[in-house]
């Protein structure tokens, strides 16, 4: 048994200072054995009661949970560098679970004159990020010193925001690709919802990581011409479209070049071919599959 602190009130229970019981009762043996530290038995011997521990927490000290699962989401974003610029591509779908709910959502956004942001994941979180970047831009404008954030700086900033939110156990549910020109050279950076950030010559989010990046690894060169880059991106989009259930045949391509700055294309569709043998008879080479 632990010695009771003398300030404990027999009327109010452990940890409370106060008056003693007016009519102290002898503890029964059952009560005495239950009366151990942490057992929530009042030391006065009155009937035990239970308190839901979660109700004792104030909402302020606990993380909010309403953004801990995504609702409306976008799928892959693909990005490659080429000679003199960067190119991004994504479809325009925002799914509600597995429902193709919103089919004209732009997921490639111009952030400033030399940077484009591409986002997969929760669309409302993307909108939050865009509002945040907008405020940042206005603040920068008010400084009126002719400086604006470069692609690399935006990438660093966003990676800090994403990592910070993950540490609050309230992540922004996105995979982001920041693309632009850094000192005239192509720059691509990616950050995801847990704050993993890295930079590469070609990048993809979501399913694109599995479907497009192998293609990029095989075919991408940093000195590709714009035509070659467009062809590669279109091919990768097509592969993603065939294999990714959460995608539609409505794409946009964004470019950042030194000469033309940021340009984002109108939505377009790709020609598709569904007569491939593997598509027509998908179980032909898979014995035992129905």
């Amino acid at each position: 048994m632990f010695a009771k602190a003398p300030s404990h009130s027999t009327a109010l229970g452990p940890g409370c200072a106060g008056p003693p019981l007016a009519n102290p009762q002898q503890l029964s043996s059952a009560q005495a054995s239950a009366h151990e530290r942490g057992s929530h038995q009042p030391s006065c011997g009155a009937a035990p009661f239970a308190v839901d521990a979660s109700m004792l927490r104030s909402t302020g000290s606990q993380p909010h949970k309403h953004t801990q699962s995504p609702y409306v989401t976008g799928s892959s974003v693909l990005a490659i560098t080429y000679a003199g610029g960067v190119m991004l591509a994504s479809d325009t779908l925002a799914s509600y679970g597995s429902t193709k709910r919103y089919k004209s959502v732009q997921r490639l956004v111009k952030v400033n004159d030399s940077t484009v942001l591409g986002a997969g994941g929760e669309i409302s979180d993307l909108q939050f990020i865009l509002n945040m970047l907008d405020d940042l831009k206005t603040e920068d404008y008010c400084a009126d010193d002719g400086q604006s954030l470069s692609s690399q700086e935006l990438y660093s900033y966003l990676s800090r925001v994403m990592y910070n939110r993950r540490n609050k156990m309230d992540p922004l549910w996105n995979s982001l690709i920041i693309a632009g020109l850094e000192g005239g050279k192509p720059f691509l950076g990616s950050v995801n919802m847990i704050g993993v950030a890295f930079s590469d010559d070609h990048l993809a989010t979501g399913f694109g990581n599995h479907l497009a990046r192998p293609l990029f690894r095989k075919r991408h060169r940093p000195d590709m011409s714009e035509e070659e880059a467009t062809a590669l991106i279109r091919e990768a989009l097509e592969v993603c479209y065939y294999r990714d259930k959460q995608s539609i045949n409505k794409f946009q391509i964004a470019k950042v070049t030194a000469s033309e700055g940021v340009s984002i294309s109108e939505p377009f569709a790709l020609p598709t071919k569904w007569e491939y043998k593997a598509f027509v008879d998908p179980t032909r080479n898979a014995v035992g599959v129905w």
């Binding site: 509002n131 907008d134 405020d135 206005t138 603040e139 404008y141 008010c142 009126d144």
Partner: protein, 247 residues
């Protein structure tokens, strides 16, 4: 001013028997003794011009800014105590950001002018604060078109076609009234503002001209007038002034 030495001018929370708040009037005086600030609303935008007295020859050119962007579509010119003015500018930035965050739209000019006026007015209500010794000309360009507002230390906000505050306000206002503001473009307006400020400044003391505008040419964003254009306007203003002297 009657009533000086009678004790009615010590606090902003006491009226004088003839119905005035002397501290507020003194704040207005601080503005009226400062450099002249001119604002005109032209057909395609607003031009602000500030006459900045150069306190020392050793001062780096362009220091002590007195026109500030609040957001892309709003800007302010400070007349009077510039440190007080900057406080108001900071508040205006906060109000603009708050409005944008809450309503998702850019704050309209009249809303911002009223919010700023309310803020300035607060400092005319309690004995433990003093009113701002600064007035602000605010230029904005929203869906309603270009607008010019004047916010004064007493907490008033008015919309103008053109107005002036500071030392040379009287003759500057007379000059502004002669302009055909509905026909004038901002490019011409810049020259007119430069002319007015050069005319109004009659002492031999050196001064710097700060010109800012928001118009179609500046992409509907509040910006300083491009250096080459400002220099040209100032040159034209000086030439016009010399011509007047000769005739």
């Amino acid at each position: 001013m009657s009533g000086i030495g009678t004790g009615y001018d010590l606090s902003v929370s006491t009226f004088s028997p003839d119905g005035r708040v002397f501290q507020t009037a003194y704040a207005q005086k601080a503005v009226d003794n400062g450099g002249t600030v001119v604002g005109i609303r032209c057909k395609d935008g607003v031009v602000l011009g500030v006459e900045k007295p150069v306190a020392s020859k050793m001062l780096v050119g362009g220091s002590n800014r007195s026109t500030y962007p609040i957001n892309q579509q709003t800007g302010m010119g400070i007349a009077g105590v510039s440190a007080d003015g900057r406080q108001i500018v900071n508040r205006a930035m906060q109000e603009a950001t708050q409005y944008k965050g809450f309503y998702g739209e850019v704050i309209p000019g009249y809303v911002l002018s009223e919010r700023i006026a309310s803020y300035v007015h607060l400092f005319n209500l309690y004995w433990y604060v003093r009113p701002f010794g600064a007035a602000l000309l605010m230029a904005s360009y929203d869906s309603e078109g270009p607008q010019l507002y004047l916010i004064e230390p007493g907490g008033t906000a008015h919309r103008y076609f053109g107005t002036a505050i500071g030392k040379g306000r009287q003759s500057a206002k007379t000059d502004i009234e002669k302009l055909k503001l509905t026909e004038l473009s901002c490019r011409q307006g810049v020259v007119e503002v430069a002319k007015i400020l050069h005319t109004v400044h009659d002492e031999e003391k050196p001064f710097e001209l700060e010109l800012a505008w928001i118009c179609d040419e500046s992409n509907k964003e509040f910006k300083r007038v491009p250096a080459d254009l400002a220099a040209e306007a100032e040159q034209q203003a000086k030439a016009a002034l010399d011509e007047d002297m000769d005739s």
